[in-house]
Symmetry: C2
């Protein structure tokens, strides 16, 4: 990691995602690091990234990171699974602050949870086709581990439609997930920021499987990193509440409504961000 | 319409869409206007438009149209329902060639098909929320007509997943469409470029309803406009086959596979387009 001298522990944490799914990471951060200011950037003008080429994704990711760096963040969390999978190491080499993706924390949490060393992974088509979770889990595992990875592309539109628990979503979940029962996994890694909202329905299909949520795992690692670097913010002596700022590259009509679903509470204000202009 | 002097009847027809759904319009054009060269532009780097703000959509639409104008098209077809609904009249005022959207042709075809003057309209959330189909149908109708409009946002991801005829898609179709039976429509307008691929499953739910497909209706109106303006291309005397060129702002990994589904035949070559650079 290059020079980090301008970083101060009162600086905010920066989080970016292609859209608003990354708000599940903010939700977890607020719980696990309640003293920290957070700046969120959602690239809603170019969402989704998962269906785009590695070149386009890399260019977008550099622009998003620069946007947060310009706002003096002490840590960048790449909440986007696609970016974490496609170009995280290039980002880490190019910017002077620690950068944390969602893949490694999720992989470590899944390895910590499994007992029979059979792990299932679900994600968007881009995430699964890239094979990143499998590669990272094997690299961290050191011993043998069996991984079954499946893409579940309809889960994102179902969450965005708000069909979190109805017959259609249950049937889609059964179609995608039932083979995991035969394959005998004991742990399922939810490899997409949208999926924590489907935990209830996934549990109906896979009753005895431990669900590992990358958003929560990433927030826990962010705490470890900040503590390690002496950059964690202590509680305010004046009882000042932490500041949360939400930037979007396009102010979409129903952001507030859908955003609330992901963040778990209403979003008061959203600022239009010019990322690439 | 401003000055059209540089237009020649051997020039190509230009078609643009936010992504690849507009290939259903190209498919209809090839059938209805078999002598014409066609240039297709899919803005796959910024797809989808439907979830973005009117400002962003308008900017993207001007850039897409300019891209086609630079390639000397004699007619621009806006295959994107969102653009047709948000800023078609602004485009028409700003460019020196005829510009045709998908909304008016669809509306006219639905009015021609209905006998009981009760028309259903389905589309993405953006299309339905904008209320454009209702407004246009009423304007063209002159007499009373009853319109029931519903958004069916999961149809697009289901088509892209390739689930054109399975139990999940049937259940989604029933959930979205069954109330149309009670409402007694005799005609359903498919207000999205993806929906023609779901005609089979929609017919299972609405057995006695006439399905009107905007892509086919738009290709028919394109023929009428070119004929009227003396710009239709006569059959080649040398038996030269027409030229079809496909530009995408991002060359996505599985474009060829999904594109084939929409176009109805394989796509040989795709060119990367720099729209906004």
């Amino acid at each position: 990691m290059p020079n980090v001298s301008p970083i101060n522990r009162t600086n905010p944490i920066g989080v970016f995602d292609s859209g608003i799914g990354g708000l599940t990471v903010v939700r977890a951060l607020k719980k696990i690091l309640p003293n920290e200011d957070i700046i969120y950037l959602g690239d809603t003008a170019r969402v989704p990234y998962g269906i785009k080429s590695p070149e386009a994704i890399t260019r977008f990711a550099f622009e998003d990171t620069q946007f947060l760096i310009n706002r003096k963040v002490k840590l960048v969390i790449v909440a986007c699974h696609t970016v974490s999978s496609v170009c995280l190491s290039e980002l880490k080499k190019s910017f002077p602050v620690p950068i944390l993706g969602v893949i490694e924390p999720g992989a470590r949490a899944a390895l910590a949870a499994t007992k029979n060393r059979r792990i299932g992974v679900i994600g968007t088509q881009a995430t699964i086709m890239a094979g990143t979770y499998e590669r990272v889990i094997r690299k961290i595992a050191r011993q043998d581990v069996e991984i079954v990875a499946k893409s579940t592309p309809l889960f994102v539109p179902l969450v965005e439609e708000g069909w979190l628990d109805n017959d259609v979503t249950l049937m889609v979940a059964k179609t995608y997930l039932k083979s995991f029962q035969v394959e005998g996994i004991d742990t399922l890694l939810l490899g997409c920021t949208h999926y924590p909202l489907l935990k209830g329905i996934i549990r109906k299909v896979l009753k005895r499987v431990t669900l590992v949520d990358s958003s929560t795992a990433t927030a826990s690692e962010a705490k470890a990193i900040l503590t390690e670097l002496g950059l964690a913010r202590p509680p305010s002596k004046t009882n000042k509440k932490p500041d949360y700022r939400f930037y979007l590259s396009d102010l979409t009509p129903n952001f507030t409504e859908i955003g609330k679903r992901f963040l778990g509470e209403p979003i008061r204000e959203c600022i239009r961000a010019s990322i690439a202009e």
